[in-house]
Amino acid sequence: MSMFPIATAAGTGGAGSFNFLSIPQTFTHLQLRMIARDYIAANAVYHYFNFDSAGTSYSQHYLMGDGATAFATGASNQPYFAMDGATASTDLANANGALIIDVLDYSNTNKFKTIRVSAGWDLNGSGRVWQWSGLWRNTNAITSWILTPGFSTTSRADLYGISTSFRTGA
């Protein structure tokens, strides 16, 4: 038992989303691996769990380098995670952003869900690289994961489940 692919999604070139529904509850952690180019002139990757996208249940912070400056900032009480890991439709052709998102203990009903993200894009003269953190203040097990606003046909996302061990090693 280790890390197993659960599902994959590909961009359509228009508005829409990557929908990971009915996520199995048989793993312990989740990892999402994504390459992304927005279908519009934006760098957005918006995402949310269990169709919760209208309240204030999310917070996020990042540490970022843009090739000249390192800085950090964040936001609280957001309706969803709003990250900038994708390249824009108007950026250097054929270039995508990349994101790797980890969610530990996604099915634990005693914990809010923390995400840890490595992300970045480089356009040979400009670029961003991030480490993000995010919190979904909900103890429900994660059963769905939606990523928007819509991505190019060369974009894709793969969801993985990671198991754990029966031995304690104490």
């Binding site: 000249a68 270039a95 990349a98 894009w121 480089d122 040979n124 400009s126 670029g127 991030w130």
Partner: protein, 179 residues
């Protein structure tokens, strides 16, 4: 370096498949790498635990080169956090900061390596620490080629430095569903 026989993906075998592994036996001229990389996976990942015989920035080359590489980095050296960029480079940099006589670790994710419709975006980290000197950095690189990645070799900025004996590199394929 030999690539292990493709054992065939199966639902019981997990997502990460070791493809090849190499331990540098002696001071080895840079340029050693993996060739004939199977194309049946979604991403590639390699872990390089290495040291050089001299102070030099580590580098890599895709498919024997000929492409434009660029890198954006976020880094800390124990005193300051900073960000740098190198553009229009003839090879990829695992880090823009020279590894100085100590073991370093690079973990490199080449996303969508087999695609023929996208350039190759690489998320990678590099860290070396020789007790208060060193660098820890998070990087994104772009390799401007639409060709699938079929080989990766490891080098330095000047191509003349040596990997020290005991340096290791392992290549993994990360498969998606139905792979």
């Amino acid at each position: 370096m030999p690539i292990l026989p493709l054992s065939g993906a199966a639902s019981t075998k997990g997502a990460y498949i070791p493809l090849g592994s190499y331990t540098f036996p002696n001071s080895t001229l840079t340029g050693t790498g993996f060739s004939n990389i199977p194309q049946g996976y979604q991403d590639l990942m390699f872990v390089l635990n290495y040291s050089f015989t001299d102070s030099v920035a580590p580098a890599f080359i895709i498919n024997s080169g000929g492409f434009t590489y660029s890198i954006t980095a976020l880094a800390g050296n124990g005193t300051s956090a900073y960000s740098n960029r190198t553009s229009n480079y003839p090879y990829g940099l695992l880090s823009q900061y020279a590894t100085t006589f100590t073991t370093a670790t690079s973990i490199v994710n080449i996303m969508n390596y087999a695609s023929t419709s996208t350039f190759k975006t690489i998320l990678h980290t590099n860290s070396f620490n020789r007790i208060l000197s060193g660098s820890t950095d998070i990087n994104v690189s772009l390799v401007q080629t639409l060709s699938p990645v079929t080989s990766v070799s490891f080098s330095t900025a000047d191509g003349t430095k040596f990997f020290q004996a005991g340096s290791t590199v392992t290549l993994y394929g990360i498969r998606s569903v139905n792979q």
